[in-house]
Subunit: 455 residues, 2 copies
């Protein structure tokens, strides 16, 4: 849907709400895609959005709610009664229903579940609520199409038709035994080309990727991406088929993970969009700024320790932002490379070898930067800075190389350590590593200067 | 496949290569998934990898090559003759074949294309080569299943069977008219429940999302994500069906885009993994470090301009890393929020309003940070710093607030400007914005200090 169209419908909706012309709202939204309606609702207050959702038929309302942004959905659900929520849950796919119910207060959770009329649906949802959202069980839905290996093609097709009624999209037809143990899958291609008498046993494909219900979500995402799977069946510890995960769920997961890493790297504590309220914006931005400020005080303290240099080598203090920035940049580069390869499950080999390589690389980078520093120093800074001579230039160059090596070691080791202790290593790509490296860098800089220049 | 299994097979392969036991290699790899083989090949030299690929049957070799990392694939293809490449291209899906051929030198491109035996396949590939890789045409494949609206279900099923032979996975059955204009799609569910005499015209679903062959790839990705599409048909300007894009292609695209933004934010000029060669690592890391170093010289110059402060207010210089870091952090936060909402197509409303909000937010954040600064200053810094009194503390606090506001304005405006001029705004989240804000921040800090303290 085009941007102008959306704008136009939003304006119409606003005036219909003002005129209390509810019939017009229903017919205006009648043929729109739930994802488009959800997008439009973000331009209304929660109160207005609830009003619009209440006007929609249950099925459409459910589809719209499923498409809403998590935070906004939570606010809208808060304004609805348990019965209203039950009506919506009734129409949702099991995985979406479970996601929605999971966010409710404990008491309301019970109310909503007991009001669901379809007992099977309620049972599936309760089952899904048991799983951690970061596992295969948390990603999967219960809707799927399966046939028994002991049926023939004719019966299988009849059963598939029946089951397909309850399933939004048929991706794969699973084959199970009498105990519901997953045996394989039935290819539609094969089914289109096989006689109706053939037993399923003889035509199914036993070659199938599966995930366990307890597998971590990021491993599921990696598996589906690696093998280009559009759907993967989920089995329990005993091999029983309990659900399936589709690629669209995993896409959202992959994007959220990537965004989390990005947010961490740029120092945001939370996902924010420009339209968020000021208070939410502050909540996302202030925490890391405070951490960095406290780090800044440490750097003030470090510098004050070397105030003796002010007498003869004051221009050293002009280099502190340069040294701190380089330390910060190098540290973030190193940690980002480690974080990305951890995320891809690509860290192998021993840490010592990796560190040696990192140190060699830093030495090379440091030499290049030090050379630039000496040339620029000779050409420009000589005249500019009081008392800046070759001896000082060499001091700064040597310190720069040392700081780069130190920062790359910190940047490599810290995320590996965080990972080892079960903390998200991406923390190490943000202001945290920059700030620590600032402080270490300044300390090393002045320590080296003190040794060489003797102040 | 488990990590230990992979390790074990790699060791076996290495010893078979040493023993020149090629039969054993073929049978060892016979039942493995191409994605697993591709992953293992990354542990071999290009020469060895080519040797292994040459041993595999054409179809398996093609599948493995399709799964390889872009850079590694390019190196391997360089060592193959045009005939060998043609044999592989023959087995690849059209979109993969086009990606592979696109990277070849112009002359070899011609050789490979003319050696493809299947004329239809060659024509499809040549067609795909016309499109920019960042458009729908660049993402799409030509393999699909389509039926004519004038056929009945019986004929349609027969044709689908025939076409399905050449298609790896059937996602959707498209319905076209006699001119190959896309009319809609046929749901498998519907097909399973309709009598064989029914004309397709009466059962197809005309409600279908499409993209134009020239649509930008990121718009396609956004569309497929928003509407949860597993596949989307691609039409030309006249509405003719020319190909389809599947979600797995888009997943890779989404992840690459997210990684590019992350790399930019952490100051990497290129994708690198820890196993890359030192030279590649330097190429990715050095450019931004040099930019930041040059920026560092500017900050040296700015500070030297204010060297008069050294006499009475030397401790101001201890605050330069704190001020620079805060300016950098705030700037990156602001620009990251703009970049992310640009990437999601979410920038709306006027820039002036957004700036006002950003300034208000920065003022609030600045007040909190300034308050912390004053408290910490009173409690600790008083004793530590020579000549640090309330007047200096207030000066630093005021400067901090001003710097935060300035940095957030720069962080908001720069990516919007870059975007306007067609430059990737993500450039503004990296060392570029940090460095500029460092310099501006220091300038503002000392200018304010000079005005208040009069040095």
């Amino acid at each position: 849907m085009k941007h102008e169209q959306t704008e136009h419908i939003i304006q119409q909706l606003k005036s219909f709400i003002e005129q209390r012309n509810y019939k017009a709202i229903v017919s205006l939204l009648h043929d729109l895609h739930p994802a488009d309606i959800a997008e439009m609702l973000e331009h209304f207050s929660t109160r207005e959005a609830v009003l619009i959702i209440r006007l929609l038929p249950d099925e459409q309302a459910a589809d719209v709610i499923a498409e809403l942004d998590d935070d906004f959905r939570e606010e809208i659900i808060k304004r609805m009664s348990s019965e209203e929520i039950s009506d919506i849950v009734e129409e949702l796919e099991t995985d979406e229903a479970a996601d929605l119910i999971a966010d409710l207060p404990e008491e309301q959770k019970q109310e909503v579940i007991t009001s669901i009329e379809d007992a099977e649906h309620a049972k599936d949802i309760v089952d899904l609520l048991r799983y951690d959202e970061d596992t295969a069980g948390g990603l999967m839905g219960k809707e799927l199409v399966k046939v028994n290996e002991n049926w023939n093609v004719l019966r299988a097709v009849a059963e598939m038709r029946r089951q397909a009624e309850n399933v939004q999209r048929v991706h794969t037809i699973y084959v199970v035994d009498d105990q519901n143990k997953l045996k394989g899958r039935l290819s539609l291609k094969r089914l289109l080309t096989t006689s109706t008498r053939t037993p399923i046993k003889d035509v199914y494909n036993p070659d199938i990727h599966t995930v366990k219900v307890t597998d971590p979500a990021d491993e599921v995402a990696r598996l589906m991406q690696k093998y280009n799977l559009f759907v993967v069946p989920v089995v329990d510890e005993l091999g029983h088929l309990v659900g399936q995960i589709t690629l669209d769920d995993v896409v959202d997961f992959i994007q959220e993970e990537a965004e989390k890493d990005f947010q961490m790297a740029v120092g945001l504590a939370d996902e924010v969009v420009p339209s968020d309220r000021i208070l939410n914006m502050m909540r996302a931005r202030l925490p890391w700024l405070i951490v960095a400020l406290l780090g800044g005080f440490l750097s003030v303290t470090v510098l004050s320790e070397f105030s003796a240099a002010l007498n003869k080598y004051a221009s050293l203090f002009f280099f502190t932002p340069l040294i701190a920035a380089t330390a910060g940049n190098v540290g973030v580069q190193s940690s980002a490379i480690v974080v990305q390869s951890l995320a891809k499950g690509m860290i192998q080999g021993n840490i010592f070898k990796r560190l040696m390589k990192e140190i060699l690389l830093s030495l090379l980078n440091g030499l290049v930067l030090a050379a630039i520093l000496l040339v620029v120093g000779k050409l420009f800074l000589d005249h500019l800075l009081p008392g800046f001579d070759m001896r000082m230039a060499l001091t700064v160059a040597l310190a720069l190389i040392s700081v780069i090596i130190m920062a790359s070691i910190v940047g490599t080791v810290v995320p590996l350590l965080l990972h080892k202790f079960g903390i998200d290593p991406a923390v190490a790509t943000g202001p945290f590593i920059t700030t620590s490296n600032d402080i270490f860098g300044l300390f090393i800089f002045f320590t080296i200067a003190k040794m060489i220049l003797k102040f």
